[in-house]
């Protein structure tokens, strides 16, 4: 599955970049995230409870900032597993000047592959659920950055 979008955030690029690459801050915006463990500056481990339809699974997700050019670009790889299910994702984020002075537009794209029980049993619901979760995440990021200012 491929997802992409653009989000305007009323904050300068370096602030946005700092927020979204700080696992402790951005992690709180992930739906269902229960804990974030920082292994090193580019490797993190998140535990998250995800529900697709009537199935709930607790995923352990290893995240890696595979490439970054602060404050313009970052590529994040994720590999998560839950009993009987797995998710692999590659996300890319480009930050550009936003429509307003001092604002930032985040252009993002993600390639997500879901395997196992969740894909099999929740196939019809996965895309909708993923869209909803992505929307929630960006709403949260924007709100959190605004709140921090």
């Amino acid at each position: 599955m491929e997802f992409s979008g653009a989000v305007d955030i009323p904050a300068p690029r370096d602030e946005v970049f700092a927020f979204v690459t700080d696992p402790n801050r951005v992690g709180a915006c992930g739906p269902g995230v229960e804990s974030i463990e920082v292994i090193d500056p580019t490797h993190f481990r998140a535990k998250a409870k995800v529900g697709v339809g009537f199935i709930q699974a607790r995923f352990v997700v290893d995240l890696e900032i595979a490439e970054q050019k602060p404050p313009d670009m970052a590529i994040i790889k994720a590999h998560g597993q839950a009993p009987g299910s797995a998710v692999d994702a590659l996300g890319r984020m480009n930050l550009v000047d936003g429509p307003e002075a001092g604002s930032t537009t985040m252009l993002w794209a993600a390639e997500v592959s879901i395997s196992g029980m969740i894909a099999s049993v929740g196939a019809r619901l996965v895309e909708g659920t993923a869209n909803k979760m992505i929307g929630q995440t960006f709403d949260c990021i924007r709100a959190a950055i605004v709140a921090e200012r």
Binding site: Q81, P83, S85, S115, G116, S120
Partner: protein, 798 residues
């Protein structure tokens, strides 16, 4: 409403005796309708442990590590078994019935989503499931191959590097039948050649009882009891013994007892051996305790063996005067990661070359390539013997297309091309000898029952008004009763079946058979065979099966083989008993054996019918007053080697109305005329046909197991894998013609699968018939509303 028109052969026994032709009520129903059946999950043994399975989320991945430490901390978890543990015993692979091998647990690579990766043994089902959730497996995903055509392309990952150096390809085997050159020449010389690509999707039998077993290793006595839900318990016993001997485990065949209890649906899915069985046996062996394994619904729908997945490119030639000249089919068979089908060893594509159908023409050629993909094992039956459904679907679609292209009525085209009744036995271009048939009689009867001419008039009127109505015919020929020993075996075991009949002193009898009932009503019908042959009332005959310690050997029940093979063995064993009874009767009547005649369960002296001894008199004498030099008792055993297959046939006609706005297909009427030779129990035959029609409707309209590009099964629950309910199932109208098998002792042919084979093409032909004038010539099943709506939308109708 159900209509049955039926001209049965007249019963020769009284209703009290209840031999052939009597609609005797099913004796097994007394326990089924009271909820007193005894299924595999009803078995619970003292000290029993439960086994649950960790399954792969990936369709193709390398296993980097398996960490069971957290699972072992779960209260109640006794052990976790991995592929590496089994490797130590050489048990990580097992043989399949098709002569391939299959991983019990992988050591380093998984090949399909939901493949078994580890087993957790615990003191309760819940603890085992909690243990499964706590096993951490680290995978490295590998490229997934779900399309068999891509699997054959150069550069595709070789999924089974374990095979020999010369077999480093995803092509499992190539199989062909018939004469290619003659067929090509015949097609080239035909006035018209109809070509079509026909895909029969992957489907699952979805029996209501999932697979499972209780393995009980008795270390003190060195004895293994394996309680199972298996269609072929004797074969399982032998396979377990071969596996054990191969790895040096002390479990010889005489110390293995497989017990199959009531089965909640088999339909082919309970023929193979699954890794869960081997794991349960290994776990019982390791722990010294009974171990139970029961699949849940999603495991059953995702991991067990599947049917179909046949990609057929078929051609049919027709002469200018409308006669079929030849048929050719090139086929790709997607067998998943392991070739675990239960096909006779010499017949990789089963009996697919019966694709020549019910028609008379000289040339045919069929080729099939079996292919490995990242899917669970495929190619196992779905209430159909050995690829006959695929073959019949292809020929019946082609025949319909040819008739339509000629602008001719499909019934007329069939009637012209049928093998004439006087040409039986008939040898087909691919070498089968059809034993008997009268195809035109069956089709004409179906046309009369449904009022064919009136329906065609109605269709023309409706079409003029823009309404969509279709009439579809399928005139199928089945090939059942595997099989003659010269050609047919499963893992080397000849496909014969035993029957053992003992008549007790008071004239009651015990019949033990090697086949295995799964709802067919063997306890009822086999007693009727004994009643027919010996005059012992069916109610006085107890029928036993399923316990390998007591039942005679048999290859099991699938491919409609019970009546053709095991039923024949029962008839022959009964006749052996009758011959001994004749000698005892001669002794009792002080007559010469040649002077006795057998009528109505009695031997009497020819010309003086009052001088007679009933079978009950004779049974008592067999233990009390038998001739000098004769052994006491009245019993016989027979292992039946069928001289040929039997060839049941029939003609089905389906009428559909299609909603133009939604694409919903409504089956208005469905007439099924079957000919399965002589009938043992008409009620049970009708029950088999009703069930089979529903199971034919299912893949025609609803069922499909699709996979996404990552190899995820997208129909892992009954929310996505749709079974027909009473709502979707029309009122079936059934009729019979009777053309006995000339070689079967009872003239019977077998019927369990006819309807599943015949129904889908009848439905598909009806739907295409409704849309032909719009330029539609073929639609692959299932005929879902989405598919039909998309076509109507494209044609500017919906």
């Amino acid at each position: 409403m159900t209509t049955t028109t039926y001209e049965a052969q007249a019963p020769t026994t009284t209703p009290e005796v209840g031999g052939m032709g009597h609609s005797r009520k099913r004796v097994e129903d007394a326990r089924f309708i009271r909820g007193a059946g005894h299924y595999i999950d009803d078995i619970n043994l003292p000290g029993q442990l439960w086994l649950d399975i960790v399954r792969s989320p990936y369709a193709h991945a390398r296993i980097k590590s398996i960490d069971a430490s957290e699972a072992l901390k779960v209260p109640g978890v006794a052990a976790v078994i991995t592929g590496k543990d089994l490797e130590g015993y050489g048990l990580h692979w097992m043989p399949t019935l098709a002569g391939d091998k299959q991983m019990v647990l992988p050591v380093d690579t998984v090949l399909y989503q939901s493949q078994e990766v580890a087993a957790v043994i615990a003191t309760s089902r819940y603890a085992a499931a909690d243990g499964v959730a706590a096993v951490l497996v680290d995978y490295e995903p590998l490229p997934v191959v779900v399309d068999p055509y891509k699997a054959l392309e150069p550069g595709a990952p070789v999924l089974r590097p374990d095979r020999g150096e010369d077999l480093q390809t995803n092509r499992i085997w190539h199989w062909e039948s018939g004469d290619r050159a003659r067929t090509d020449a015949a097609l080239a010389g035909s006035a018209m050649v109809v070509k079509e690509h026909i895909y029969l999707p992957r489907i699952h039998v979805a029996s209501i009882e999932t697979c499972g077993c209780v393995a009980d290793w008795d270390a003190v006595n060195g004895h293994l009891t394996l309680h199972m839900t298996s269609q072929a318990p004797h074969v399982i016993r032998t396979v377990v013994a071969i596996i054990a001997a191969g790895v040096g485990l002390p479990i010889p065949e005489h110390q293995i007892r497989v017990k199959t209890h009531d089965i909640g649906g088999g339909f082919g899915g309970k023929v193979p051996a699954y890794p869960g069985y081997v794991l349960a046996v290994a776990a019982s062996f390791l722990t010294g305790k009974p171990v139970k394994w029961i699949e849940d619904r999603s495991e059953n729908l995702q991991a067990d063996s599947f049917a179909r997945d046949y990609h057929i490119d078929a051609e049919l030639g027709v002469s200018a005067d409308g006669r079929i000249t030849a048929v050719k089919a090139t086929t790709i068979a997607d067998h998943g990661a392991f070739d675990a089908q239960a096909a006779p060893l010499k017949f990789h594509a089963g009996l697919f070359n019966v694709i020549t159908g019910s028609y008379d023409y000289p040339d045919a050629f069929v080729e099939v390539d079996g292919v490995y993909t990242n899917k669970p094992p495929g190619g196992v039956a779905y209430r159909c013997s050995f690829r006959v459904t695929e073959a019949v679907h292809a020929i019946e679609r082609l025949v319909d297309i040819a008739a339509h292209e000629r602008g001719e009525d499909p019934a007329e085209f069939r009637l012209r091309n049928f093998i004439p009744a006087d040409k039986f036995p008939y040898t087909t271009p691919t070498g089968w000898e059809y034993d008997s048939g009268n195809y035109a009689a069956a089709l004409r009867k179906a046309m009369d029952m449904i009022g064919y001419e009136d329906l065609r008039k109605e269709q023309a009127e409706k079409r003029a008004r823009g309404e969509l109505m279709g009439i579809g015919i399928c005139s199928f020929t089945e090939i059942v009763g595997a099989g003659p020993s010269h050609d047919f075996d499963i893992v080397g075991l000849k496909m014969n079946d035993g029957a053992e009949l003992r008549v007790h002193p008071t004239g009651k009898a015990l019949l033990r058979i090697g086949s295995q009932t799964q709802g067919q009503g063997h306890e009822t019908t086999y007693a009727q065979i004994v009643a027919e042959e010996l005059g012992i009332p069916a109610a006085d005959v107890k029928v036993e099966y399923g316990d390998t310690d007591t039942a005679p050997y048999g290859l099991g029940t699938y491919g409609s083989r019970s009546t053709p093979v095991s039923g024949a063995a029962t008839a022959v064993a009964s006749r052996k008993v009758r011959e001994k009874a004749r000698a005892i009767a001669a002794h009792l009547l002080e007559a010469n054996v040649d002077d006795l005649e057998w009528t109505n369960g009695k031997f009497s002296v020819k010309g003086s019918p009052d001088r007679a001894k009933t079978i009950q008199d004779i049974a008592f004498a067999a233990y009390t007053n038998y001739p000098a030099g004769m052994e006491m008792g009245l019993e016989a055993v027979d292992y039946y080697d069928p001289p040929n297959f039997t060839y049941p046939f029939g003609s089905y006609i389906c009428v559909v109305d299609i909603d133009k706005a939604t694409g919903v297909v409504k089956i208005r009427r469905f007439v099924a005329v079957d000919d399965c030779g002589n009938i043992i129990n008409p009620m049970i035959v009708d029950g088999q046909i009703h069930g089979g029609l529903a199971m034919g409707l299912a893949p025609a309209m609803l069922e499909e197991i699709p996979y996404d590009a990552n190899g995820n099964n997208l129909a892992g629950t009954f929310m996505d894998y749709l079974l027909p309910t009473a709502v979707e199932t029309p009122a079936w109208e059934t009729g019979k013609t009777i053309t006995p098998s000339p070689h079967h002792p009872l003239g019977a042919k077998g019927v369990g699968e006819s309807a599943t084979v015949g129904a889908p093409p009848a439905i598909a032909n009806a739907v295409v018939d409704a849309l032909w004038h719009l330029g539609v010539r073929h639609i692959d099943i299932p005929l879902t509303p989405q598919k039909i709506w998309a076509i109507l939308h494209e044609k500017g109708i919906a």
